[in-house]
């Protein structure tokens, strides 16, 4: 069977090669550079803290998510859909902004400490290891809820009906239906979140630090920015990559549940959970879970509105740079994703190409950044390339998410219309234009929104490269926080959140409007 290899397929293979070179090539640069330095006690403690914080955060997120997902799975009430959507929001929220919200609740003069003060208890400090873990849980608990909820909804309705017909109580349902499901879902959810926590940079940057709460990524940043010690940064980056590769290898052996599972707004009909004690339990769980998310979000808005008048002028050019970087990186990411999908459907080396597209998951943006820094540094001043490099790295970091969203839909389109398109000689760009793009519009819109929001909120590689003149908005927020100008930081964050969600909304909406039947 002679199917022509069109320009799009060739582009897809080139993209696979590029992501491989970008992730493994920068790693090679890191490794070659790292030989000269040695792993000291501070580095061991950074490694230990990285792993322990990620383990603790993943364990807490998953543990807290179980009752919450269970309550969402077996209850149907007005506003349930809104709660499920709320659980998706932190993923798109810029990390620095969320940190500001967390500080407003748990920080020195935050709500919790004011409450403690009223009761006469001593104030607690948010900074340090527990603050880092709290921040990580804030981001990953809702992710865990969505993953576990999709597991709950994968229990066939027929089986629950059978359980009701046999008169199963909640305990029996738990033992025969829910525990087996959890056994399948939890390991994947745990590892996925563990991986996210390993590569989180902005939370340790803002809430951690010091000898007790420094992660590998924070160490990389400090070595590059403050000590100008490329060798040590490279060594830490190599350790970070090894850690991530280990976690990715583990995740590949487990079935990782869908992050953006469709149909989560559909409650499962349950007959075993009608007792008032169980109802009360679910209400309490949901109130606490939502409160944990909503309070910081509300504080972002309240403090942000107060701080709007205090915004320094540097915010506006930074906002423009952020939006431009997000647009370029989203366009790059979508072009790369679609050509990867085309190359995968062409069949040749499909597994390899798909793996290449997922590779950036194992590379943290700081490791990529360090590698690029080492590669760029002999030829040009890194700060001159800050924005292009950030756009490129952001596109690469969003690629695995976009691929996971678009590839299944692309496969469906090829299964349904591929033969018809082949029989009409619809290939290359024509196939993309007349078949793939129109059919995939909604999912491309959603994936673009995710990529744009991720890029808008990114505080990773830009922190390594940028000077005053190229700061993006998250970096400006972080700098304001570092200078304890909290009011101005809150105002700038509100601008950042507004822009991120606006970009997400425009992309998602653009995809769904006029979506053809």
């Amino acid at each position: 069977m002679a199917r022509r290899v069109g320009p799009v397929t060739r582009a897809g293979r080139a993209v696979a090669l590029c992501t491989t070179v970008l992730t493994l090539g920068t790693l090679l640069a890191v490794l070659l550079r790292a030989e000269t330095a040695s792993f000291g006690p501070a580095d061991w403690s950074a490694l230990r803290f990285t792993v322990l914080a990620a383990l603790a955060a993943a364990g807490l997120s998953v543990g807290l998510a179980i009752p919450c997902a269970r309550a969402l799975a077996r209850r149907s009430f007005p506003g349930r859909g809104a709660i499920v959507s709320l659980m998706g929001a932190p993923f798109l929220l810029p990390v620095v902004v969320a940190v500001l919200g967390i500080l407003a609740v748990f920080g020195r003069s935050g709500l919790v400490n004011r409450l403690l003060d009223v009761v006469g208890l001593p104030a607690v400090s948010i900074y340090g290891p527990h603050g880092v873990i709290l921040g990580l849980v804030f981001f990953n608990f809702p992710l865990a809820v969505r993953m576990i909820l999709s597991g709950w909804q994968a229990i066939p309705a027929e089986r629950l009906r059978l359980a009701a017909a046999l008169g199963f109580g909640p305990g029996t349902v738990l033992r025969h239906l829910e525990l087996p499901m959890l056994q399948q879902t939890l390991p994947g959810a745990f590892v996925a979140i563990f991986l996210v926590c390993l590569t989180s940079f902005a939370i340790p940057l803002t809430l951690g630090g010091g000898p007790r709460a420094t992660t590998l990524e924070l160490g990389i940043y400090q070595a590059l920015r403050f000590d100008y010690d490329l060798g040590r940064a490279a060594l830490l980056a190599a350790a970070q990559f090894a850690l991530c590769a280990l976690a990715v290898g583990l995740a590949a052996r487990l079935a990782v549940p869908a992050r953006f599972g469709a149909g989560l707004d559909r409650p499962v009909e349950r007959w075993d959970a009608q007792g008032w004690a169980l109802r009360l339990q679910d209400v309490a769980v949901l109130v606490l879970g939502c409160g944990f998310l909503v309070l910081p979000l509300a504080m972002i808005v309240i403090r942000g509105l107060e701080g709007l008048s205090d915004i320094p002028a540097a915010v506006w050019p930074a906002a423009l740079r952020s939006v431009l970087v997000a647009m370029v990186s989203t366009a790059l990411c979508m072009a790369a994703t679609l050509s990867l999908c085309t190359a995968i459907s062409a069949g040749l080396a499909a597994r390899w190409i798909e793996t290449a597209g997922m590779l950036p998951l194992a590379a943290s943006s700081l490791v990529l950044g360090t590698g690029l820094f080492i590669l760029v540094h002999p030829f040009a001043a890194p700060e001159r390339l800050a924005l292009p490099v950030t756009a490129l790295v952001n596109a690469a970091m969003a690629l695995p998410y976009a691929l996971r969203l678009i590839l299944p839909a692309h496969r469906e389109v090829e299964a349904a219309y591929g033969q018809l398109a082949d029989s009409l000689g619809l290939a290359g760009v024509s196939r993309l234009r007349w078949l793939v793009l129109p059919r995939l519009r909604p999912v491309i819109g959603f994936a673009s929104g995710v990529a744009a929001a991720l890029s808008m909120g990114d505080l990773g590689v830009i922190a390594l490269f940028a000077n005053e003149g190229q700061a993006t908005l998250p970096l400006v927020v972080q700098q304001l926080m570092g200078a304890y100008r909290m009011q101005a930081a809150a105002g700038a964050s509100l601008v950042l959140v507004g822009l991120s969600f606006a970009l997400f909304w425009i992309c998602d909406r653009g995809g769904r409007r006029h979506a053809a039947a």
């Binding site: 002679a2 199917r3 022509r4 033969q419 018809l420 082949d422 029989s423 000689g425 129109p438 039947a517």
Partner: protein, 232 residues
Amino acid sequence: MLRLDGLEIRQGDFRLNADWQVAAGERVAVIGPSGAGKSTLLMAIAGFIAPDRGDILWQGRSLRQVAPGDRPVSMLFQDQNLFPHLTIAQNLGLGLSPALRLVPADRARIDAALDRVGLGGLGGRRPAELSGGQQGRAALARALLRARPILLLDEPFAALGPALKADMLGLVSELAEETGALVLMVTHDPADAVAFARRTVVVSDGVASAPADTADLMRNPPRALAEYLGRS
């Protein structure tokens, strides 16, 4: 002339052999029990399944290295013959130019083809706004525009009622006559074969037998066909 030269297709335990030829412009029915390989035979001719042995030749030229869209073939599938997100006119236009770069003369030809199959003025609609019979007509109109010398029908009208199906077969006969196309039509209904095709290929037990006179076959069916027809 379409020649199946020692053709063999294997898919796991499944196997199909064919070694015969049909002349250009002929109309041939393909009949047999489900799962015997009727569709597989058409898929191989259309270029979606590579033969494991033997060759498929059109006018003496091997089609082995020819991509589906470049073969002298138009095919109507069981379903999904139209892209639901494009208008009927665009769907037809893809038959003229896969990049949909159409000159005014092309648009005139599309309108004429729509008129010919009785869909005049419906070019601006989307497939979902058409009935099943009209969708079949649109797919036929595209085949008419492509004007390939071989037309393969893989039961595209199976979901239509008897009267509509008879209409469509009549239309196919007329169009085939006008364009001089060779038609291979899969069917599970012996009446279709009798009405439409002078010769018929029986597919069963791993063999697509050489085309034989349809009326003779029905009068005096070989064992496999008799079992299929329930006359054994």
